[in-house]
Symmetry: C2
Subunit: 159 residues, 2 copies
């Protein structure tokens, strides 16, 4: 049991650290900088921010914590590539959604007890889970932290 | 005990997945592409590859597994920024070092039993560790996977 709590702390510390670093990074960037491409012909900062909110919104569902807060982002920031949608939220709107989403996640996460992280997530069946117990909720945090870091490495190029 | 093994698998799966994705990415890039900057005025692919090898070399020491395999990389790829060193290894040489380093890590990791991952790493004292047991060897893998993903998000820009 002590190990369970310890491991959850290790994984959640890295998640929280990644979110915190991304927040710091967003604070150093102006809206104009976030409207620029991270490299010539590549995604804009705006798109990456929308993409992260949309992916974290899917995570809420996967973890069985809630419906999506911003389901309208899925089409524009996951299904479609950057610069395809005729209209997207503004950077200012995305910044607000990002803060709101993080606050919501934080509130939900702090209410979970360590054991709950080892339950299966929504996208795996009971039968699969009995054979593959690593497909649990904590593993979703591990993979989404990886995803967050990947895009963090791109957002720093806007400075 | 079952939980310990499960947690180690979850963390190591993500590490191995990140290494595997980076290997695929390196295989899609020519040496010429790796000599280019990931974005105008930013680090070159060559520098990021050398940096990853140098950081993983430090990890070997932190985990108490071995001396560094390529100590000469520290100065050029960690202490110094890109384009400072008068001479660096070639991309071809770095590719070889990368493969050799991964093979070495893989061999060392497969020999570790799950409990060993919860021992303290080299940079933490016994006293600190008694209060902060999360500063263990597995945590080093969690943070280095984050680091790897961050630079992976940059290396994909070379395609």
């Amino acid at each position: 049991m002590a190990t369970t709590k310890l491991l959850v702390k290790m994984v959640m510390d890295r998640w929280n650290g990644s979110i915190s670093n991304l927040n710091k990074q967003l604070n150093t960037l102006t809206d104009e900088q976030l409207e620029k491409e991270i490299a010539p012909g590549k995604n804009r900062g705006l798109y990456l921010l929308g993409h992260l909110i949309a992916v974290h919104d899917e995570m809420l569902v996967l973890l069985g914590l809630s419906e999506k807060l911003f389901p309208e982002l899925h089409q524009v920031f996951i299904k479609q590539a950057d610069k395809v949608a005729a209209q997207t939220p503004t950077v200012a709107e995305l910044r607000e959604m990002w803060v709101q989403h993080n606050d919501f996640l934080q509130e939900k996460f702090t209410k979970m007890n360590p054991e709950a992280w080892f339950e299966k997530h929504i996208a795996v069946s009971e039968e699969e889970f009995s054979k593959e117990p690593h497909r649990n909720k904590l593993n979703i945090i591990i993979t989404r932290t990886s995803h967050l870091q990947y895009h963090m490495g791109q957002l720093v190029l806007l400075n």
